[in-house]
């Protein structure tokens, strides 16, 4: 057992790691944005009991939550290709993570929307607002604020789960580390390095979202 931990090795790997980090960040950012959009749409369909579409949304959420993410990723990358809808690894990854996060965000946002005081809906309707205006101008601004912590949780999971995309050859952070490990067998260095990088981005993301939450909740807390 004379494994020599080598900091210089990590240092030397930095350019590769930065390339991977960049891909991780882009994939995660896109997936988080799409997953919130999917969540808003599906949660709204559910909360307003839109015929047919509400059930479709429910089925989608159920399906995603009951199957492993890796299976979903393979299904989209290999499965769709065999049907003739082949997507690149990158876009397969974004699609899979967006759908995965979207299912969880549907539940998160549904929770937020149902926490909105029922009296506000009546007030809005009594003022002649259309349901879509009530949704956009009252329910979502309030409901989304309520579920920011849950959305953050899901966003963090999306970010961490982007490491699964190494399985379909997307050159994100984990892929880069595996790649170097396969060449140089510097397992400890590489996995410690990417572990720390993931930790730092999650912390940064959490801090940013908490700031946003404090800022957005300001009008509620002045009583």
């Amino acid at each position: 057992m004379d494994y020599q931990f080598s900091f210089p090795y990590i240092w030397g790997a930095t350019p590769d790691l930065l390339d991977g980090l960049w891909i991780t960040l882009i994939v995660s950012l896109l997936s988080i944005i799409f997953s919130v959009i999917i969540g808003v749409v599906c949660a709204s369909l559910r909360v307003f009991h839109v015929p047919v579409l509400s059930s479709v949304a429910a089925g989608y959420v159920h399906f995603i939550r009951s199957t492993p993410l890796l299976v979903q990723i393979f299904f989209i990358f290999y499965g769709l290709a065999s049907l003739g809808f082949g997507l690149s690894g990158f876009w397969s990854g974004v699609l899979a993570l967006s759908l995965w996060g979207g299912a969880y965000n549907t539940e998160n946002i549904r929770g937020g929307l149902s926490a909105v005081d029922k009296g506000l809906k009546e007030a809005a309707y009594s003022l002649g607002l259309r349901p879509i205006h009530y949704l956009r101008l009252v329910a979502l601004p309030i409901g989304l604020r309520v579920c920011i912590p849950a959305l953050l949780n899901t966003a963090v999971s999306v970010l961490k789960n982007s490491s699964y995309l190494q399985a379909i050859g997307v050159a994100e952070l984990t892929f880069v580390a595996m790649d170097r490990v396969a060449m140089d067998f510097r397992t400890l260095e590489m996995f410690l390095a990417i572990g720390l990088i993931y930790l730092v981005i999650v912390l940064l993301l959490s801090t940013a979202v908490r700031r946003l939450e404090t800022f957005l909740k300001a009008p509620f807390n002045t009583a």
Binding site: D117, G119, L120, E122, A123, A124, Y125, S126, L127, G128, L129, R130, H133, L137, V138, P141, I142, R145, A218, P219, F220, N221, T222, A223
Partner: protein, 251 residues
Amino acid sequence: MIQPPLINVSGLCKEFRGGIRALNDINLSVNRGEVVVILGPSGSGKSTLIRCINGLEETTSGEIKVEGKSLAGNSERKWRNHRLEVGMVFQNYALFPHLNVIKNITLAPLRAGVLKKEEAVQEARRLLELVGLAAKENSPVASLSGGQQQRIAICRALAMKPKAILFDEPTSALDPEMVGEVLSVMRRLADEGVTMICVTHEMGFAKSAADRIVFMDKGEIVEEAPPQKFFSAPESDRSRRFLDLISSHHG
């Protein structure tokens, strides 16, 4: 030509799921400029009646007309147009907590296309002036007292220029020292000829501001009379018992 009543309710019945009959054959006419105060014990159907008039509850049978136009058909759009004609003020104010005072007031007129941005703001300022809250224009609503919030809620309803305003116990959630400021705004509206239907337990307001008292019990209108008559010589036993109960409470 005889003008039709502004609001006309005929044969209105409302049964909730589970067979609770909240309203039973209600007939009520409200003329332009009239102030009607609805009194009655808890559970008598007062809220249900004005919620039906505002289209917040589906009716079981009967008809509600505003200016002679019936609400039959019940399409979403008809309901919306109907709701544009009658405003509503709720017991718990129900202001939009994420918006400041002036945005609460201008939100609906802007969305419904009733007013342009500039006009809406001007109108909101005029209304805030009217209720004595001009200085609070940019305050978050959470920073206001209950009485102030309820006065804002009245402005919000007025901003839609409704033909009538419905109040459901507008002062019941308020601390006693704030009841007066809301009632005085309502009294002022009454004096200006705004048509109002008001559910309240404030007998002083009922006596001085109402043109007519409607007394309800068990989902029915038991008695309708001008306030002087209702409070001094109620016709039915049930009204008398109600008034006895009230006066024993308030001395």
